[in-house]
Symmetry: C2
């Protein structure tokens, strides 16, 4: 893969980390208590540490991190703007769904890279204790009020819909990403989206929600 294509993929992951950081950090204000508020802030901070590693790698490749991230910021911003959580249950569900789909997507990207970039990208996968925290919070919210399950299931569907819609828009504009999702010489956007949503459905069930 060309250095430009590598920078393109690292820029995508880095910009995802940077914007996820900002949103999770600002969502922390919706936490019902200080313990949970701090927990979400620490989840957010993990994203920025990963951002720094990717930015350093881009600089080492002679690419400015800002240039590499620029093509993705608008779509990521549009995703976050259109999925502003209204309460704590929506905050943790968004973190849970978003982190997991991001990780699935990162694994697809890693397949297209060679080391050391492949190892770096796999290394920024989310720490599973954060997913455990978010899933436990979702189950707690559902236990407290069973009607929350329906609302969060709908919210999760909206998150996935908005994410795939923005992803499709970016993929249509970026040849590197289109090449990434090509399998056996065929561009298989629906195959990729199918893999991502199948894994998502299984996770929803694990958190006590339905798809």
């Amino acid at each position: 893969m060309s250095a430009i294509a590598v920078a393109d993929l690292l820029g995508l992951v880095a910009s995802g980390e940077l914007l996820a950081f900002e949103r999770m950090a600002s969502d922390a204000r919706l936490a019902p208590d200080l313990r949970r508020r701090a927990a979400l802030s620490e989840m957010a901070a993990a994203e920025i540490a990963n951002y720094r590693r990717l930015a350093d790698r881009l600089s080492a490749l002679g690419v400015s991190p800002e240039d590499a991230m620029a093509p993705y910021v608008e779509a990521l911003q549009a995703y976050h703007d259109s999925t502003e959580p209204r309460d704590w249950a929506e905050v943790v569900a968004k973190a849970y769904v978003g982190d997991a789909i991001t990780d699935d997507f990162i694994r697809e990207i890693a397949d297209a890279l060679e080391d050391p970039d492949r190892a770096l990208v796999l290394d920024v996968l989310h720490d599973s204790r954060y997913a455990d925290f978010a899933a436990a919070e979702i189950r707690l919210a559902v236990t407290d009020d069973p009607r929350v399950a329906g609302r969060l299931s709908m919210w999760a569907r909206r998150l996935v819909g908005e994410a795939l819609s923005q992803a499709g828009r970016v993929a249509a504009e970026r040849a590197t990403l289109t090449a990434l999702i090509a399998r056996d010489g065929r561009v298989d956007v629906s195959g990729l989206f199918g893999r991502l949503t199948t894994a998502h459905t299984a996770r929803m069930a694990a958190a006590g929600l339905n798809n």
Copy 2:
């Protein structure tokens, strides 16, 4: 100093870190470009790393970090709510002024503690490269438009005024803090505030602003 008083002071520093993290992280959206946006996010993330160290120390002392922070959250929140930056110049000026006054205050607190808490608290002082970044951004904003100097000088006075007003309110309610600012057996709130504002004035001049 009693373990309760130590927990009280560590709780103050920890809550300051946690709330500063959230506000700086959410202020990052006002950055004019991705480089600066990432730089502010990284400044914010440094606060959460410090928060974690203080929270771990509180847990080791047998105190829940949430309980230790609870008395300060309202005042800190009130400070941040009343000083919402409207643009990037106000964001960096707030980070510059806030970090520096916090550091001065932390040094005062450290004087009242014994090791290992004293060393821990001194260790969470802000990294000077972040202050250098903020000061450089302020000077740049003033160079671009000299009228900004007057506006930012007024903004900085408001920040200090709001901070001291909230600090005074907390001090009046917390015996430990009142004891902390006692010198030679006398409670010297105006002496402490005097030391903090004198240092602040010198820093304003260093960043090209006036007091």
